[in-house]
């Protein structure tokens, strides 16, 4: 199984993603520089966190014009696995692979903190090893994580069960008090209709090592591995 970690100028959680695939899972992994066009031989691609091009404009707005993006869209449309976290999620919404947009946190401050998430579906390639209603605690680390989608589009997303993770309390309650950044309906992560593209703001890759804050996030990667090894 071969993983790719996409690197734009300014990407900075590339190392974290690489570490999960290569060290924790022991898989063949390579970095993909944003000017590359050859994604052959990869089974799954992760778009890690960071500040692509400094994010001085809207986050991810410039990265989506990188040469690799055309190929990535083709890769996604072929049904292979694409997983964007944080800035990677922002790039996926900017490029139209996922709906919505990420606004500034309602506190207008960057927030880095462990935060509980409720898993909304367990029938996806990213979450099939999770238990129903599982609460996992993984860190958020963003300034623009406030997910927004308007009226009908939001209804469509909810109707098709496109929300995979919601911010919640340690007990799993989804309400305003358990919403760290103002995201509509506490949305922390969404999946495309075909079920092969996931974008989320929190960082499961930073909770995969028992020595460093626990392994709550590992189940996502294990789900992907299990699904891919069956395929």
């Amino acid at each position: 199984m071969k993983w790719g970690v996409l690197v734009f100028p300014g990407t900075n959680r590339d190392y974290d993603a690489y570490d999960v695939f290569a060290r924790i899972l022991g898989h063949d992994t390579r970095y993909i520089w944003h000017r590359e066009r050859d994604l052959d031989g990869l089974d799954a691609i992760m778009l890690p966190g960071g500040f692509s091009y400094g994010d001085y404009l809207r986050c991810g707005a410039i990265a989506r014009f990188s040469p690799v993006m055309e190929e990535l869209i083709r890769f996604a449309n072929s049904g292979r696995t694409v997983f964007g976290v944080c800035n990677g999620f922002q790039v996926l919404t900017e490029s139209g692979l996922l709906p919505g947009t990420l606004l500034r946190n309602r506190s207008l401050r960057f927030i880095n903190e462990d935060w509980p998430l409720r898993v909304e579906r367990t029938d996806t390639r990213f979450t099939h090893l999770c238990s129903e209603g599982q609460v996992m605690t993984v860190p958020i680390a963003h300034n623009e994580g406030n997910y927004f989608l308007g009226g009908d589009d939001l209804k469509r997303l909810e109707d098709r069960n496109g929300v995979l993770f919601r911010y919640c309390s340690p007990q799993g309650e989804v309400n305003d008090a358990s919403n760290p950044n103002g995201s509509v309906n506490n949305i922390a992560g969404v999946i495309n209709e075909a079920g092969n593209v996931l974008g989320m703001m929190p960082h499961p890759e930073n909770r995969t090592d028992p020595l460093i804050g626990g392994t709550d996030g590992l189940v996502l990667f294990e789900s992907m591995v299990a699904e891919l090894s069956q395929a």
Partner: protein
């Protein structure tokens, strides 16, 4: 690049439009009469305006250390695992085994932050990161030591907000975790905040790049951002007191671009791998001038620069402006002739500009050309620290204030113990700094084991190994105010104790010495005393000084800051599994109070609450006991039976115990302390060399035996468990009461919640 031949007999000329050079105009650049004469002696003629500018920044306090170097040389600057000592390169380098070394340094950005807090703090982070990665080390952690005036002051709130955002935006964008530091609020910093940033990096020692120019004819290459007019005379600006007029000097403050710095970081580390780099220096204070002349002076070589080649973002810049610009995110390197293309290829990959702007010569002179004119020709060595830069011995006089602060005015000791405990926990200097550190990304790179607020020091795994580094900054300015020598020794000891409390063994210290105007003898006395105290503690603890920074002139119209020698420290833990934080984790463990038994009200949080400023004589400080105590803690933690350890600092025993109960607010753990009776001084007073340690019940004998062997007092004082912190029948605090005070105190004081 076509290299223009320069006739050795050619004399430098004024650049068209430059002001006429006079003694008066020299004074406006901070050059003294004596220095002006010396410049003419060195050159054998009048300097050009460009040359005067070069001398003024290179001989400024900030770049030359002219008023501090004689004292700094008294510090222990070698020994232990030190590979590169203080002042030899951009940062010190310490061996940590496995063919790895750690580079670390702390530096101030006080004056820029006082005027433009966001950019001032941001570029402070950028500057210290460059110091570390210029050597070829990958930065793995940042820490920030901050001091402000009282939090209810509107201007202070503005500064706190800007400084924290500046640090956050820069470090977060770079993807380097900000894992620790300190924040204090004190009247003396009202007009002059302190913003000290520390960076820690890891490298293979064999790949170290030196800040030295070698090899006649080797090209000098500029890489990174374009040069603009920002930050001109930043180094000189840092070398005078702040005044009303300072607020109008925002053009002295640089503007940061962390995205560019991220590219520069990756490119620099890639350059280190090529082996084509002969020498490299970042353009920080005094920009192109400092980087070029220092690299030349270091090897006795000369350097020729053609300023027309320098990438600029503004039209019509004069040589003076180009040389003195402190535009950020720029590097100057000397490449091996014939291998330029390897440099350009790396730059191209990272989408950076790289241009050859000069070459190395053997005449020891810094020669600068623009528009075909020779505008400066100076012996490089005469510009540099350790070369011809001036070195002064300053007058000292014991300060008047020390007599009056020794006697503590009468005050009321705490009577309602519970109320006193909760009011202390909510004090901004004691309360959790979560409001600040949650704005920093402390987890990126996935190696931070002990997070901010969870231990006495941060613990960061060394990538690719099973080892970890403990790191902290520390200084109690109240103690150094009351007794500069002992206070500074206690600052070193506390920083080392913090690292020891995680199980890491201190390797070395870096320091940022924040003081007032060195030309005031009473101020200079405190500086000299503090350096002496630091030296004593560093020798005793075997932690050599790897480098750092002196920041003088921390004075505003309302007076000087407390003498504040901030200590940054890094320690090594051989097994990351065995490092600990400060939070109690389970029921039924034994709680021990170990170390010294002397406490006092002098400079304590309670005393300052009563009087508004520190008074009194510090309690005795026994360095020998401190060394034994730290050895004991490290040994016990490495033996694997210690669950948590926590130093007793501001607020004394009750604060420390409460912090251990609620360090993890989602999983608090109680503690029942079995005191039949205890004085309020023992509960809330402060003193050095005291630690609370939580030990597995089966190993109580082991700890007691170890304490006897190390000749360190150790007293069993209670057990973990129960609903909150209890002192038998005296008083108790529930989790909710403690959390409300501790986790909301700071944001309430800042008017945020």
């Amino acid at each position: 690049m076509t290299r223009q031949a320069i006739d050795p007999n050619q004399k430098p000329v004024a650049y068209p439009g430059d002001p006429e050079v006079t003694l008066d105009i020299a004074a406006t650049l901070g050059v003294t009469d004596e220095e002006y004469t010396r410049i003419q002696d060195i050159l054998g003629r009048m300097p050009t305006w460009t040359e005067l500018g070069i001398f003024s920044v290179m001989w400024s306090e900030h770049a030359s250390y002219k008023n501090s170097i004689l004292e700094l040389k008294k510090l222990p600057r070698s020994g232990g695992r030190l590979l590169v000592g203080a002042g030899e390169e951009n940062a010190g380098l310490v061996d940590i085994g496995d063919n790895l070394a750690v580079a670390f340094k702390v530096e101030s950005h006080n004056h820029p932050s006082a005027v433009e807090p966001y950019q001032g703090a941001a570029t402070g982070v950028g500057g210290i990161l460059r110091d570390v990665f210029t050597m070829g080390a990958r930065p793995i952690a940042l820490l920030d030591s901050l001091r402000f005036g009282p939090p209810e002051d509107e201007r202070v709130r503005f500064l706190v907000d800007g400084v924290v955002r500046g640090i956050a935006d820069y470090g977060n964008c770079m993807g380097i975790p900000t894992v620790g530091g300190e924040i204090y609020f004190e009247e003396s910093y009202r007009g002059n905040p302190l913003v000290n940033a520390m960076a820690v990096g890891i490298m293979e020692p064999g790949k170290m790049m030196s800040a030295a120019a070698k090899g006649v004819g080797n090209p000098v290459i500029y890489i990174g951002s374009r040069t603009g007019r920002d930050g001109i005379h930043g180094a000189t600006f840092a070398s005078v007191e702040l005044s009303e007029e300072s607020q109008s000097r925002k053009s002295n403050v640089q503007v940061g671009d962390p995205f560019m710095e991220k590219l520069l970081l990756e490119a620099t580390l890639a350059l280190a791998d090529t082996g084509a780099v002969v020498g490299i220096q970042d353009m920080g204070a005094a920009g192109l001038t400092c980087s070029s002349s220092e690299m030349a002076a270091k090897t006795g070589m000369g350097i020729v620069l053609d300023l027309n080649k320098v990438p600029k973002r503004e039209q019509g810049m004069t040589p003076y402006e180009t040389l003195l610009s402190e535009s950020q995110e720029r590097m100057l390197l000397v490449a091996e002739k014939g291998r330029e293309q390897e440099i350009f290829d790396v730059a191209e990959h990272w989408e950076l500009q790289a241009v050859e702007i000069g070459y190395v010569t053997d005449d020891g002179r810094m020669k600068v050309m623009q528009d075909g004119l020779l505008v400066a020709d100076i012996p490089a060595n005469d510009l540099a620290l350790g070369g011809g830069a001036p070195v002064y011995e300053r007058d000292v006089e014991e300060p008047e204030y020390l007599k009056s602060v020794k006697t503590m005015p009468e005050f009321e000791e705490p009577t309602d113990l519970k109320e006193a405990a909760l009011s202390l926990l909510a004090r901004p200097n004691i309360a959790s700094k979560k409001h600040v550190f949650r704005q920093y990304d402390s987890m990126v790179r996935g190696n931070t084991k002990v997070l901010p607020g969870r231990g006495d020091a941060a613990v960061v795994r060394i990538p690719g190994t099973n080892k970890a580094l403990g790191m902290a900054t520390d200084c109690n300015g109240r103690f150094t105010y009351l007794n500069p020598r002992q206070g500074a020794a206690m600052a070193v000891a506390e920083a080392a104790r913090n690292v020891a409390c995680t199980g890491a063994e201190p390797l070395g210290v870096t320091n940022c010495l924040n003081f007032g105007n060195p030309y005031k003898p009473q101020m200079y006395w405190t500086f000299r005393e503090a350096v002496a105290g630091m030296g004593e503690a560093c020798r005793a603890l075997n932690t050599p000084v790897t480098g750092g920074n002196v920041s003088f002139y921390n004075e505003s119209p309302t007076g000087a800051v407390f003498p504040t020698p901030v200590i940054g420290i890094v320690g090594l833990a051989e097994e990351i599994e065995k490092t600990v934080g400060m939070g109690a984790t389970r029921e039924g463990d034994a709680v021990f109070l170990i170390g010294a038994d002397a406490t006092s009200w002098a400079g304590s949080e309670w005393q300052v609450m009563q009087h508004g400023q520190p008074y009194g004589e510090l309690p005795p400080f026994n360095l020998d006991l401190e060394v034994r105590l730290q050895q004991l803690i490290i040994t016990a933690i490495r033996a694997g039976y210690v669950q948590a350890a926590h130093d007793l600092a501001e607020g004394g025993l009750v604060t420390a115990a409460a912090e251990m109960c609620i360090a993890d607010p989602l999983n608090p753990q109680g503690m029942q302390l079995e005191f039949e009776e205890i004085s309020s001084l023992d509960l809330f007073g402060e003193g050095p060399s005291r630690v609370l340690i939580i030990v597995e019940p089966a190993h109580v004998d082991d700890l007691e035996e170890l304490a006897r062997k190390n000749d360190v007092p150790a007293e069993w004082i209670g057990t973990t468990g129960g609903k909150g912190l209890g002192f038998r029948t005296l008083f108790s605090l529930s989790f909710e009461e403690m959390s409300k005070a501790y986790y909301h105190g700071l944001s309430e004081a800042l008017g945020i919640e």
